[in-house]
Subunit: 232 residues, 2 copies
């Protein structure tokens, strides 16, 4: 039988899983909204982010209440503290999906993404969604091998990001500055979204093994400068 | 006389103050490195970020140890949990300063910023540094009025960000796509840096008053889309 304490701990885990589900769905829908120039869909993604923010606040309140009342130690304490960090990653991922949707809204009735880049952006959007689906799976299963897979997926995101920069830097770029700005920011949003998914998975690895999956800062790996300098 | 418990709590506060000092200095030096195309300075900013990451890790270890051993409740518990979040904001600010320095390095021996935008970028860099200096002051003094000042400074950053976009979107833009990409990312880095400084200050307000300074998400206020849509 589960006692109240473990029920509270489980409920924090459930909150994380639900947040990951929502933001994974949001990045997928935001990408569709942008590629299809679907204003209605974009608006719905923008509005739905409130739910993610609410969940994060609930989760934080639960975590702090649990710390105060139950005073967990050792593994349970690590779970609670790590959950707070994961919820911050997920909340931020939701913001990034919302940013993508805002680009879609800003450029409506046009699509922000020119035709010759739509395939790359679609791939980035799908990869971002898959990364978050895997991160969610990792939260549920605590599967360290699956968590390590996310590192490779993130390399693939880095490659796509470089492809995007190659297009931008190509002398034949004919879409003007405004579109270059949109594409630059979109690339950054997807890359950061992927970073947060990887970060969530790494935190699970830390919980299970006590080691950081990678001593390198999750965010430092695939920033825009490294993507570009590899092209330079 | 201070007991060991309060010494540990103070030491966490000291770590935050030191992190804020380091990242404030980093954004100032990164801006100079970029405007002056100073490779040596850029490299030193990039290398120095490790110290910030180390401090964050130390601070987290201290916080978790304190939670486990001392099991603080009420205000002290809130201080520890909030400190963990502030350290995440500060660590991320350090990354953003490093990103600015990487743009400087990437474009060396040129400056990444064309002459007619140098004044705006200098202002953004200086404002970012001042915001972080104030955030540091807020951590030390717990001064709620000063914390609220940061909101206004952030509005000024938003205005500068819009100025930057106005330049980019001007038909007379003659600096090409590569520079447009640099300037877009730089604008984003300064804006996010400012968001994190504001977020640190808001967390102090939350500690002191128990209320969020603003029910709105700190990151949602001044994103690139709103900066641009106000120009559209």
């Amino acid at each position: 039988m589960r006692d109240a304490y473990h029920e509270e701990l489980d409920s924090i885990g459930d909150g994380l899983v639900e947040m990951a589900r929502l933001v994974g769905s949001a990045i997928g829908r935001a990408t569709t909204a942008m590629l299809d120039a679907d204003l209605h869909l974009a608006e719905s993604v923008i509005a739905a982010d409130e739910k993610v923010d609410d969940l994060q606040r609930e989760l934080e309140t639960k975590a702090i209440t649990l710390l105060a009342r139950q005073q967990p130690v050792a593994t349970d304490l690590r779970i609670v503290v790590t959950s707070l960090r994961m919820s911050a990653d997920l909340e931020r991922s939701g913001d990034l999906a919302q940013h993508v949707a805002k680009v879609a809204r800003l450029r409506y009735p046009e699509s922000a993404v020119p035709r010759d880049l739509q395939a790359t952006i679609l791939e980035m959007g799908q990869l971002a969604q898959r990364l978050m689906a895997k991160a969610r799976e990792v939260i549920i299963t605590k599967d360290v091998d699956l968590a390590l897979q996310l590192e490779q997926d993130d390399d693939a995101m880095d490659l796509l990001h470089r492809t995007l920069f190659q297009h931008l830097m190509d002398d034949r770029w004919k879409h003007g500055i405004e579109t270059a700005v949109d594409v630059t920011l979109l690339g950054r949003y997807y890359e950061r979204f992927a970073d947060h998914a990887v970060s969530v998975a790494r935190r699970v690895v830390y919980l299970v093994t006590g080691d950081y999956a990678d001593e390198v800062d999750p965010a430092a790996g695939a920033d825009a400068e490294s993507a570009r300098s590899k092209n330079a």
